[in-house]
């Protein structure tokens, strides 16, 4: 970042910084080094929270829920229905 750009970033209001935040985060670069954050505790806290939430979400991925035991019965029944319907269609005489 050039000195001029750095100065502009320093002078950003919180509103302006937060308006840029979705794009800044999506770059994948370390937003915590942004000049605005040097002097802005509020935006630092916001960024830290958003990072914490994203990280916590990632930890959810391996956690799996169990569907009810009845679900397989429903699936089997539906498969059987489809097969019967398909077979009756195949055996029907053409008009």
């Amino acid at each position: 970042m050039s000195q001029e750009a750095n100065q502009d970033a320093n002078n950003l209001t919180c509103a302006a910084f937060q308006a840029q935040l979705p794009d800044l985060i999506a770059t994948g670069e370390n937003v915590s080094g942004h000049p605005h954050l040097k002097d802005c505790e509020l935006c630092r806290a916001l960024l830290a929270d958003l990072e914490t939430i994203a990280e916590a979400a990632r930890q959810l991925f391996p956690i799996e829920e169990e569907p009810s035991d009845k679900l397989w019965e429903h699936i089997e029944s539906a498969i059987k229905g489809e097969k019967e319907s398909s077979n009756s269609g195949m055996s029907a005489e053409p008009a």
Binding site: P22, A54, I63
Partner: protein
């Protein structure tokens, strides 16, 4: 510049199956989907592809938790998640013979299940006309603005149940993008294709979803304390 603490999701090179929507490939999901399902015996897969019902039942047992959990996260409703899981496995039954083994089976099934959920959400009107508008929650559901607030920040680790509950309470559009990006590991360009919206919209919705979650999580301890 050092990398962000926001999870990055590298791209997967695999192509979609013919006839599938240009669904994004969960890169991570290739490894991730495989890592959470049990080991699939190639013989079992081959038998299921040849119409062996017992083999198909084994596939169901191996993958039911992963697929159901995906559906549950995306719709936030147990009954609907079970219906979608059923539809995903019915589609699997219809299409399994077309699986060519270009990708991991778990990844292929994962994609198929996401398509089923998205089809259902479209039927419900989420993206029929203008996803950008349809996904925008009502004013009362939007996250609060952060600048000028003096609220406390989240402190360190987030309770898993609190996060899960907060995700379930997100408006549908926010939840969908948050689950696809932050949990399932899709990139914004992939989500944009899947949901037929702009990349900018995907970024913006994800940001709003995280802000909304932050609002929810900051009130969580107080609400719990009142119970």
């Amino acid at each position: 510049m050092p990398q962000s603490r926001f999870p990055a999701h590298p791209s997967d090179a695999e192509s979609p199956q013919p006839g599938e929507q240009a669904l994004a490939r969960p890169v991570v999901s290739d490894a991730r989907a495989a890592s959470t399902a049990g080991t699939l015996d190639p013989d079992t897969l081959a038998r299921a592809q040849a119409g062996d019902h017992q083999a198909f039942a084994q596939l169901y047992s191996l993958h039911k938790r992963r697929i159901y959990s995906l559906c549950l996260r995306m719709v936030g409703n147990i009954a609907e998640a079970e219906d979608l899981t059923q539809e995903a496995f019915l589609q699997l039954h219809r299409k399994i013979a077309t699986f060519r083994g270009d990708s991991a089976f778990s990844t292929w099934l994962h994609r198929l299940a996401i398509n089923v959920v998205l089809m259902q959400l479209r039927k419900k009107g989420l993206s029929l006309i203008s996803l950008d508008e349809a996904m925008e929650p009502a004013a009362e559901e939007r996250p609060g603005r952060s600048f000028g607030e003096q609220d406390l920040s989240l402190s360190g680790a987030i309770d898993r149940l609190a996060l899960q509950r907060a995700i379930d309470n997100l408006p549908a559009g926010y939840r969908l993008i948050f689950v696809l990006h932050d949990i399932e590991g899709f990139e914004h360009n992939e989500i944009a294709v899947m949901l037929d919206c702009s990349v900018g919209n995907s970024k913006s919705q994800l940001h709003k979803a995280r802000l909304k979650l932050r609002d929810e999580l900051r009130t969580y301890p107080q609400e719990e304390g009142r119970r």
